[in-house]
């Protein structure tokens, strides 16, 4: 019983991380129809930046949360540059978009190897969250609970942004009908840059928040990318609630699969996605078939 409860908490924590990663992916996919195959790389890049800032490799040791914000902002700017100078030139050309995003992913992977080497880098759990909560026989690390809280807070923040602000209304309009949004005077191309930067920043944020749990290592990028994909296919692209539900489901399947069916863990991970594709191709909460 204890085992299953612990597994449940770990699943929700991982689901929270996945949500931070997949929310941006889903928005980019939903609004821009771009398969952003750099998303896992942005996650890894954020984690490396965070590790550098926290670990004091630049001779100044930053506070974990300050480092998180700086690294996320840096990656967001990087994302905006990719969108503005590369993807902007390739509207409606999925082949070229795949080539460019994969090319950048290769470059980031090699850059990571060059700067940070091949060994995993562990990031210390931020001060104040190193302890444990004891509930009877159960022991929960504070940090994992904090990740859940952060994911929920970001989810609420994103929901407020999308549902309650003018910018959010414009983004939703762009997701639902980009042509019509243009006609009524929304500058969709500007939205693209904003959404891409936001998605990149969120992915980096997820990378740093996840670093004390997952650590950072080469190959993390292409490990996270398929997970983000599965979440988005499961939940439906362009849907926030879809990303949230999808992330939690995948978080559970990932952790329980690893623990109970280690030999088939990847198979069970992708199985629900296949079932959803066959029965409801637009995803659980999606509005359109990609």
């Amino acid at each position: 019983m204890t085992f299953y409860l612990l597994l449940t908490v770990n699943s929700i924590t991982f689901g929270g991380l996945l949500f931070l990663l997949a929310a941006g992916f889903s928005l980019i996919f939903g609004l821009m129809r771009i398969p952003n195959l750099t998303h896992g790389s942005l996650f890894m890049l954020g984690a490396y930046f965070g590790a550098t800032l926290v670990g004091g490799m630049l001779s100044i040791q930053f506070n974990f949360w300050v480092a998180t914000l700086i690294a996320a902002a840096l990656v967001a700017v990087f994302g905006a540059i990719i969108e503005r100078f590369l993807l902007r030139r390739l509207p409606g050309q999925p082949l070229a978009q795949v080539l460019v995003t994969l090319g950048i992913a290769f470059m980031i992977a090699d850059f990571g190897l060059m700067v940070w080497g091949g060994d995993p880098i562990n990031v210390a759990t931020p001060g104040g969250l190193t302890g444990f909560v004891r509930l009877g026989p159960l022991v929960f690390p504070y940090y994992r609970l904090a990740v859940i809280a952060i994911a929920v807070a970001v989810a609420i923040g994103l929901w407020l942004l999308l549902d309650r602000t003018r910018l959010g209304a414009m983004i939703r309009a762009g997701v639902d009908d980009p042509d019509m949004a243009r006609v009524v005077g929304i500058r969709v191309s500007q939205l693209f840059t904003i959404v891409f930067a936001l998605g990149a920043g969120l992915a980096a944020f997820a990378g740093i928040i996840g670093a004390p749990i997952l650590s950072v290592y080469p190959g993390l990028d292409f490990e996270m990318l398929p997970l983000a994909l599965v979440v988005v296919i499961l939940g439906g692209s362009g849907s926030l609630i879809g990303s949230f539900v999808g992330s939690i489901i995948i978080g559970f399947i990932y952790n329980f699969g690893q623990a109970l069916l280690p030999q088939l863990s990847y198979f069970v991970l992708f199985l629900p996605m296949l079932i959803v594709l066959l029965l409801r191709p637009q995803g659980l909460f999606g509005k359109f078939v990609p």
Binding site: L95, M107, P226, V230, L277
Partner: protein, 331 residues
């Protein structure tokens, strides 16, 4: 047109005589790799280039075929049975793959195929009792068709070359066939094709099967070349690499995938000996190709060549205008 024939004849002659002017088995092995990766890329090009269906899971299919060969041989059966079994299993897997992924088109297709590729990789990686996990399976011998040993690099190179030329001919025939034309129709105007009475799904399905056949052929060469198969050959990076070969060389052109395969294999195996950061170089090459030749190297070069030629001829005709007008006057 005659220039094209000459160029193709020269390229063919170069390929046939390659072992005589390239020294060292290392470079001959690199050439064999280019050839079977070119077949792999040709197969993907049928879908990605002519069908507009970008598959990011083809390495998974290649892996299934390679594992089928290795597993059959390990079970003590002969090469003929292994190759036949691999072809059948490869085509059957492709049929399942097609039925699942043809639920969507466009970006949806990319994502489904990526996920399918990852499932296959995950099975190969984790289902250790069948696949031996990361340790992979060894293939001890190469087949001996007509009692010719393929053990030496040169013999294997010629085997690859023959299979490559046959595959290229198959793709050429396919592209020029009614089915090929219909496939390009479903890429450009799926709704119109549907309205014209074509069964869009069936056309795409058979294109997938044809692509699967080429993938299976290259998978068999792949496993006999390496004499080893491990999950690494199936991962997302491998799927991405072959897709990049297709797009970089020129999706929807006959020779583009082969050029792309040469580019990627040369950077991976030759340039990597001189430049430590070859992955970054490869990534940079892809980005540069997209910026300057978004249609790919082969169509892009042809376009630039024609442009330059037209400019040169326009320039030349400008200079010789009096002579030309005189000639016209005489006529």
């Amino acid at each position: 047109m005659s220039g094209r024939v000459v160029a193709l004849a020269l390229a063919g002659a170069a390929l046939v005589t390659l072992p005589y002017w390239i020294q060292g088995s290392y470079y001959i092995n690199v050439s064999s790799q280019i050839l079977f990766y070119a077949i792999f890329a040709l197969g993907l090009n049928v879908l990605a280039g002519y069908g507009g269906l970008v598959s990011l899971g083809h390495a998974g299919l290649l892996g299934i075929v390679a594992y089928a060969v290795a597993y059959t041989l390990q079970a003590g059966l002969g090469h003929t049975i292994a190759i036949l079994a691999a072809l059948v299993i490869g085509l059957a897997s492709m049929a399942v793959y097609a039925v699942l992924s043809l639920r969507a088109t466009g970006i949806g297709f990319i994502m489904i195929t990526l996920a399918l590729g990852e499932i296959i990789w995950g099975l190969a990686y984790r289902w250790i009792s069948i696949t031996n996990g990361d340790n992979g399976i060894n293939v001890r011998t190469r087949p001996e068709p007509f009692d010719l040993s393929l053990a030496s690099p040169i013999a294997f190179y010629y085997a690859c070359l023959i299979v490559f030329l046959v595959s290229l001919a198959m793709v050429t025939v396919f592209v020029r066939s009614p089915l090929g034309a219909a496939l390009m129709g479903t890429r450009d105007q799926p709704r119109r094709m549907n309205a014209l009475g074509y069964h869009v799904w069936a056309i795409r399905f058979w294109a997938c099967i044809f692509s699967g056949l080429l993938t299976a052929i290259s998978g068999i060469l792949f496993v006999y070349y390496n004499q080893f198969i491990s999950p690494q050959a199936l991962d997302l990076t491998s799927s991405a690499e072959v897709l990049l070969m297709v797009i970089a060389g020129g999706a929807g052109s006959l020779l583009g995938p082969a050029v792309g395969a040469a580019l990627v294999v040369v950077v991976k195996s030759v340039v990597s000996g001189f430049i430590e950061r070859w992955n970054m170089l490869l990534g940079a090459i892809f980005v540069v190709i997209v910026i300057f030749m978004p249609e790919g190297l082969v169509p892009g070069t042809v376009r630039l060549w024609r442009l330059a030629w037209r400019k040169a001829s326009a320039h030349a005709s400008h200079e010789t205008e009096p002579a030309a007008s005189e000639a016209e006057a005489k006529q």
